[in-house]
């Protein structure tokens, strides 16, 4: 007859349950990354063989798909363009969304709740509808075929979403903290800058990450407004150079995606706790 389970056995059993349950999700989440990585290093003849186990190498791994990116395409320029665009968009978004979110959350503006919902609704208007009128705006401002066009148009996506996000976040900051700041002599702006913003770092960081990644995900605006090879963001440049008619340069496509995707994933990981905090409520919790 088995004796009573020790605490250690119970812990092992609990962990087995937990890992057993999350393993399928991890496989589903990680498999595309693994596939991307292995394809990026496979030689083309290895890639096209269907009679062998596809998830490992049958010919020596190669760097040639990576070197192709830097020797035969403007990949370096696309990465720089993307980062610069995303940085500008993040700054512009914060400059607009922080005061807007704060005003809607705190200043008791009549209809603020509905206004917040209305702002969020503009985020739901699909780009496929907006790109035509925006084309006119971009052209009138003389920004066509320059990445500055994207710095102009991406905030139309990021500001509504981040305003709505920050609005919810600012609501969770205790009013007493601001009142205390005002008792100590701060105005609305002073209370915002000295008290509310410092405790809202997780929310602001979440807004920055959203602004940054939304800018990095777009394809349609980049395609519609920027055609010169050296001005494109990476999302447009990669398919332009590596999908040619019905020929896909799979190795280089995956290498390009891996080099963009991995740093972002690692960055996310660094700020994961704050990101979750930002999404789920913030300082008021």
């Amino acid at each position: 007859m088995a004796g009573p389970r020790t605490h250690r056995q119970k812990e092992i059993r609990r962990h087995l349950w937990i890992y057993g349950l999350i393993t399928p999700y991890i496989i589903i989440a990680v498999f595309p990354i693994y596939w991307m990585a292995i394809t990026a290093f496979k030689q083309d003849p290895d890639l096209y063989r269907m009679d062998v186990f596809p998830l490992w190498f049958h010919l020596a791994p190669t760097w040639k798909h990576f070197s192709y990116l830097f020797t035969n395409t403007n990949y370096g320029a696309w990465i720089i363009n993307t980062m610069v665009i995303a940085a500008w968009v993040a700054v512009i978004t914060l400059l607009a969304a922080v005061p807007a979110g704060y005003a809607l959350a705190r200043l008791r503006i009549p209809g603020a709740e509905n206004l917040g919902i209305a702002i969020f609704m503009t985020y739901l208007v699909p780009a496929i509808i907006l790109f035509l009128p925006l084309a006119r705006v971009v052209s009138m401002l003389g920004l066509q075929d320059s990445w500055w066009a994207l710095v102009l148009v991406y905030p139309t996506i990021t500001i509504p979403f981040c305003t709505w996000l920050l609005m919810g976040f600012f609501k969770t900051v205790p009013v007493e903290m601001e009142e205390a700041a005002r008792v100590d002599g701060c105005g609305y702006l002073g209370a915002l800058v000295r008290v509310v913003l410092p405790v809202s770092v997780p929310g602001i960081l979440t807004a920055v990450i959203f602004a940054f990644t939304l800018s990095m995900q777009d394809f349609l605006y980049g395609l519609a407004f920027v055609a010169p090879g050296d001005q494109k963001p990476v999302t447009v440049g990669v398919p332009t150079e590596l999908i040619r008619g019905d020929v896909f340069f799979w190795g280089s496509l995956m290498a390009a995606a891996l080099m963009v995707g991995l740093p972002v994933a690692i960055l996310y990981n660094f700020f994961l706790d704050r990101f979750i905090q930002g999404i789920t409520g913030g300082a008021g919790k």
């Binding site: 269907m50 009679d51 790109f131 066509q144 349609l220 519609a224 055609a227 332009t240 019905d246």
Partner: protein, 445 residues
């Protein structure tokens, strides 16, 4: 009360203003024709900038050549040339943006999905350039006109098209004593025989360009038509359509696998290059991909003419490529000059594209043609112009046809049949209904 209607004048007389107008147009037209003939850009184009938008060609070296070739022409004629490349499937979106903005490139390229008829009111009439090239090189192949002509004028310039021959594995055919797939029935027999041996075939049954092109080739070769010769009325509903769909279902069931429901345009390239496919019906990009990635399979891959559906009936639906000039362009003259120069050098383009670019001008088919004329396996491509057709066959590529192509109605109808969840008649009812709906919408417009 005075009569405000214009006073009728003798048509044989001209007032001073009319005379100046007519004479001016005559001089301008004459000068352009002279310049086009002499291939020397006029002084007015010097100092201008020409912006060209086109696809990313499947041969990267072709784009490198094209960009350099355009720059050199520009240097010679004092025109700054900039060529931008984007994937061909994304050009309609970019075109819509430029149309909305009234600004953008001077020359815009369309591949496969030709939007000349949709935008012709905003495009420059290129009839003079086309006429000149036609006179110089023995006229245009018949199918060319259907792509770009609206109300008797050419609003685009076809420069090359892309063929889709049969690419079959001779080693597999020989090992099973199969005849070369000169008819669709022989192709079906081959697929039925070789599928159990691990070598099925495949034609995309999904929303991609290949599905639009290749199932239509089969349908037209079975005597089917998509519209009447005027292009005004759909003619899909026919006994030929029923015959074709019965055959499509049989060839799918016997010779393909359900993978084809998820294929994209590159899938058949991979299928051939992997050594699995017994045959594919595709552009020679599949052949070139195999050459680069699987030399033993490449050695055994041969090309065949479009298979016959009905005896003697071969229709090969090709992917057209057309260049257009926006009316908002401030450099229309330079654009025309460049296009005329490009046409003059289309054979060089054929060389640089490794035989991928097929010209539209009759004289270019003098054998041996560059690249394909000297390669024994590719020589058969020289015989395709006689059987080439485009969407809307035998009518022109009208706006309703373009919408039908872009919404994949035809391959969707074939897919419904092959999935087996609907009867042939039910699928036809749906497909024909969609055709009628699209045509009626455009007629109302």
């Amino acid at each position: 009360m005075s009569d405000l209607r214009s006073v009728q004048t003798d048509p044989s007389t001209l007032d001073r203003r009319k005379f100046l107008g007519v004479a001016g147009a005559g001089v301008a037209g004459g000068s352009l024709l002279t310049m086009l003939d002499a291939r020397k850009a006029p002084a007015q184009v010097r100092g201008t900038t020409l912006r060209i938008l086109q696809w990313s060609h499947f041969i990267p070296a072709y784009d490198a050549w094209y960009d350099k070739f355009a720059r050199e022409w520009g240097d010679k004629n004092g025109v700054k040339v900039r060529v931008d490349h984007i994937p061909h499937l994304d050009i309609p979106a970019r075109m819509a943006a430029e149309f909305a903005a009234g600004a953008g490139h001077d020359i815009i390229y369309n591949g496969s999905s030709i939007l000349t008829r949709l935008y012709y009111k905003n495009l420059v009439d290129l009839t003079d350039v086309a006429d000149q090239a036609g006179k110089k090189y023995g006229g245009w192949i018949p199918a060319a006109r259907s792509l770009v002509e609206v109300e008797g004028r050419w609003f685009g310039l076809p420069i090359f098209y892309i063929l889709a021959p049969m690419l079959y594995r001779k080693d597999l055919f020989d090992a099973s004593n199969l005849k070369y797939p000169d008819t669709w029935e022989l192709a079906r027999v081959a697929a039925r025989t070789l599928k159990p041996k691990g070598h099925p075939t495949g034609i995309a049954l999904s929303q991609c360009a290949d599905a639009n092109l290749f199932w239509r080739s089969m349908f037209f070769s079975f005597g089917g038509t998509e519209a009447d010769p005027s292009g005004d009325n759909p003619t899909l509903d026919s006994k030929e359509l029923r015959e074709f769909l019965r055959f499509a279902k049989a060839i799918f069931d016997e010779g393909m696998t359900p993978e084809v429901f998820s294929w994209d345009d590159a899938s058949d390239n991979r299928y051939l290059a992997s050594g699995i496919a017994c045959w594919v019906h595709d552009a020679i990009s599949a052949y070139r991909t195999t050459e680069d990635t699987n030399p033993p399979v490449f050695q055994s891959t041969f090309l065949g003419l479009e298979p016959q559906g009905l005896p003697g009936k071969r229709v090969s639906v090709a992917a057209p490529n057309v260049w257009m000039v926006w009316k908002f362009s401030k450099n229309q003259q330079a654009a025309k000059e460049w296009l005329a120069y490009l046409i003059d050098n289309d054979l060089e383009g054929m060389v640089q594209s490794r035989g991928y670019n097929m010209p539209y001008l009759n004289d270019r088919y003098k054998k041996p043609m560059p690249v394909i004329g000297t390669d024994p396996k590719l020589q058969i491509l020289q015989d395709f112009p006689k059987i080439v057709a485009f969407y809307g066959y035998p009518g022109p590529s009208t706006t309703p046809i373009q919408e039908i192509v872009n919404t994949f109605i035809f391959p969707d109808m074939v897919t419904r049949v092959c999935r087996g969840k609907e009867s042939i008649e039910e699928s036809i009812k749906w497909g024909v209904g969609e055709y009628r709906r699209v045509y009626a919408k455009h007629k109302r417009a």
